[in-house]
Assembly symmetry: C2
Homo-oligomer: 469 residues x 2
């Protein structure tokens, strides 16, 4: 090989993605080179790369990887890829895989794949794992119980720091985290949490009772608590893991930060979806069926279509007068849009503020007072620009809008923005007080209400200040 | 004291919040009891409780707390409370506080408080801290450099596991995390990361070179990377901390998971704000001034008000014909709302999908094909219900809408939903391809475009199929 081709080959290797590299090495049968290559890669990257492979190649890579790595990679695969892999492996391989996987990953996997695979997985699990899996599957969806793991380190309250560290060294290797350990009494009640770093920084003979968090500062959640609550707690107290207790305060599991981050992301997505008229969906966009999508969307579209009847009837009742004065009708979309947009803005801020705990229902009057002032500034500015806009439109089109209409539209604009801001900050807070989800009181819902009110104001002002032939 | 009053007293204590308890104990001068009480409380809860106190009481609690705890509590206070506390403490207390605080918390604090306090803080810092603070303040806002901390553990590549653990024991107590340590060569280049748990689980004489993550699986970010990228990396690879390197790949800091969670929350808020016509704001709702709020909202309100001119002109041009046939005008809000809502739904899903990496621009045709089918199902269902709705309206009102109008409105409905879905999935993906933020192509923007198109379709159908007198 000349230096030139060597360089070219090197360069090409550099440009190849991990996935392409795997395909090439598999194709040319360089199994040892592939094993070496994969050893240095992150499991997440391997999972992304192999998910693009044909099932046959996927299976080959899976078999090349060391057992513990392949179980990790498996946990990061999408449920579709997990399913096709499990369908191809032998029962013995399945047993080894289940043995290496963390229980919470196994439960996640089982919840997503078709029934025939679930059956096979349960059949190849030992009876203890099987009963644990069944127990996990009984926790309500999105509860703390459903996302917790049982692979944590339990310490006894009579340990010294050194004993605790030794105990962690011997039992911690297959736990999901050892950075927070949990101290229980003889009835398995949670009595304290111990951070590994505190164990390292104290004298070897310090009793762990002296360094653990106890009493008031002991934070835990119950199996039935909503996952959103778990995420809020973890975020508030900067926790790396949250202990989960049953009704009798006995420790039954922990939830680790990686799962909490997934919850935070899901909850943000759910809020965004609700704010935009979608029934929340658990699946990724490309994996959701057309029928499910239509179902998630049609409900709100129907409700709001029917509500728009009121807006339509308001216009219908005023139709004769609208056609009597040039330019009145043309301003309807602008007034409705601006009102809706203004309401949308404030409801967004309030909904997000409520979700993050930055705004509380008791702040309502502070919020209202603030919104009224913001609305006045925005309304007046919009009215001024609109006055100019209408002037320009009259100059360039053949529609001779009478000047009094300018004033009516501008006044309606200011009122509409004020009303929109009031409605936009009030409805989410009312929803919160009624224990409904404030996210439902978002843009489109607000828009429909504000639209009707805006039109009523507009027509009332027109009736009062304009002379109809 | 009788048993009754004892019970009552106990009960009352139970009901009292931590804040009320503090006020009561301070008021009755029970300083020892207060110190005992606070010892068992979480610093986050203490911070929440003392933020409600008058400055004088706040200062007293601050002085009661042990130095390290008071620094922790201080880090969790809002910038307003931090400012009033710093204004009240002596120079000596300020020095002690700065000494106990983590550097990244100090930088956060300095970025938020008034200039006179910044000046005082810099004056009381030692020259090394001062130059570090100044360096941090120079990183661009929201960059990895601006949120990183320099309090991490550096290991040398020739350490054994036992040496590393001993080194962590001796130097780790004032580091922000010891769970991930970072290995550098003699030029301070980052060459590997070492998890504390791996150090515990291997033999004492194992060289750390053998257990650390190196080469391809070594993940780091650069000081100038956007914080959103850092959060994506941490989430993707389930990291507890992300190393930050400079242009020469020398390790300069780390970003810990608690700060990454804050970034994730901020980014979700920013996306929600952008999707709802708000310029992103860094402050909490109640802390943002009325003027800033008006400024953050007026731009988009103005832009969309002006754009609504087109919709208005489309209606104005058709006004004569609208008034010629009963019921045509009344259906305008319903058609516009439904089109807008349908477009809004899909743009929300695509924007969120793009943000989470679930949808990529290359999936466009898959998305389009899916949306066309969803739109057909939704459009036809809406049209059927609308037909019934118009029938009912005609029966209960005095407006005798001719039956052909029913068909025109229903046909327009189906077309409007189809067009809305196409626009709603296309614009965010185009924005992504143009390296604009897809979040801008959300509901209100889509609505304004879809409104105009819906009306054009409606009027074209009316023109073609209805007979005007």
């Amino acid at each position: 090989m000349t230096t030139m081709t060597m360089l070219a080959a090197e360069e090409r290797t550099e440009v190849l993605s991990l996935g392409e590299n795997i395909v090439e090495l598999l194709g040319s049968g360089k199994i040892a080179a592939l094993r070496e290559e994969l050893k240095n890669e992150n499991v997440v990257d391997i999972a992304v790369a192999v998910s693009e492979l044909e099932t046959e190649d996927l299976l080959r890579v899976f078999r090349i990887l060391p057992k513990d790595i392949s179980a990790d990679v498996f946990s990061y695969l999408d449920s579709d890829d997990q399913a096709r892999l499990v369908e191809s492996i032998t029962d013995k391989e399945l047993e080894q895989l289940l043995d290496e996987m963390y229980l919470d990953d196994t439960v996640d996997f089982i919840e997503e794949v078709p029934a025939n695979i679930v059956k096979r997985v349960l059949a190849r699990s030992d009876s203890k794992t099987r009963s644990l899996i069944n127990k996990f599957l009984q926790y309500p969806e999105n509860s703390a119980g459903s996302i917790m793991t049982i692979e944590y380190v339990e310490l006894h309250d009579y340990f010294t720091a050194q004993q605790a560290v030794d105990y962690i060294r011997h039992t911690g290797y297959d736990k999901e985290t050892v950075y927070n350990c949990f101290c229980i009494d003889h009835q398995r009640h949670l009595i304290g949490t111990v951070a590994l770093e505190d164990l390292l920084f104290c004298k070897a003979d310090t009793p762990i009772k002296e360094i653990m968090d106890v009493d008031d500062s002991l934070i835990s959640v119950s199996t039935s608590d909503d996952q959103e609550y778990v995420a809020d707690i973890a975020k508030k107290y900067d926790l790396l893991s949250v202990p989960v207790v049953d009704n009798e305060k006995r420790l039954v599991g922990i939830i680790t930060i990686d799962d909490i981050i997934d919850v935070m992301e899901d909850e943000a997505t759910e809020d965004i979806e609700k704010m935009n008229l979608l029934l929340p969906s658990d699946d990724e966009y490309l994996k959701t069926s057309v029928f499910t999508m239509a179902k998630n969307r049609i409900v709100w579209l129907l409700v709001l279509m029917i509500s728009a009847t009121f807006t339509g009837q308001i216009i219908a009742n005023f139709e004769d007068k609208l056609s009597a004065i040039a330019g009145l009708t043309a301003c309807i979309p602008m007034l409705m849009d601006t009102g809706g947009n203004a309401g949308n803005q404030v409801s967004t801020l309030i909904i997000r503020g409520l979700a993050l705990g930055e705004v509380r229902p008791k702040d309502y009057f502070k919020v209202l007072w603030k919104e009224l002032r913001v609305a006045l500034i925005c309304g007046v500015l919009l009215a001024i620009v609109n006055f100019g806009r209408m002037f320009v439109i009259r100059a360039v089109t053949h529609v001779a809008t009478p000047t009094p209409v300018f004033f009516v539209v501008c006044a309606a604009m200011i009122f509409a923005v004020m009303v929109a801001k009031i409605i936009g900050c009030t409805l989410p807070i009312i929803a919160k007080l009624l224990h409904l989800d404030p996210a439902l009181m978002a843009g489109p819902m607000i828009t429909t209400i504000v639209d009707a009110v805006t039109l009523l104001i507009y027509f009332a002002l027109a009736n009062r200040f304009l002379t109809f032939a």
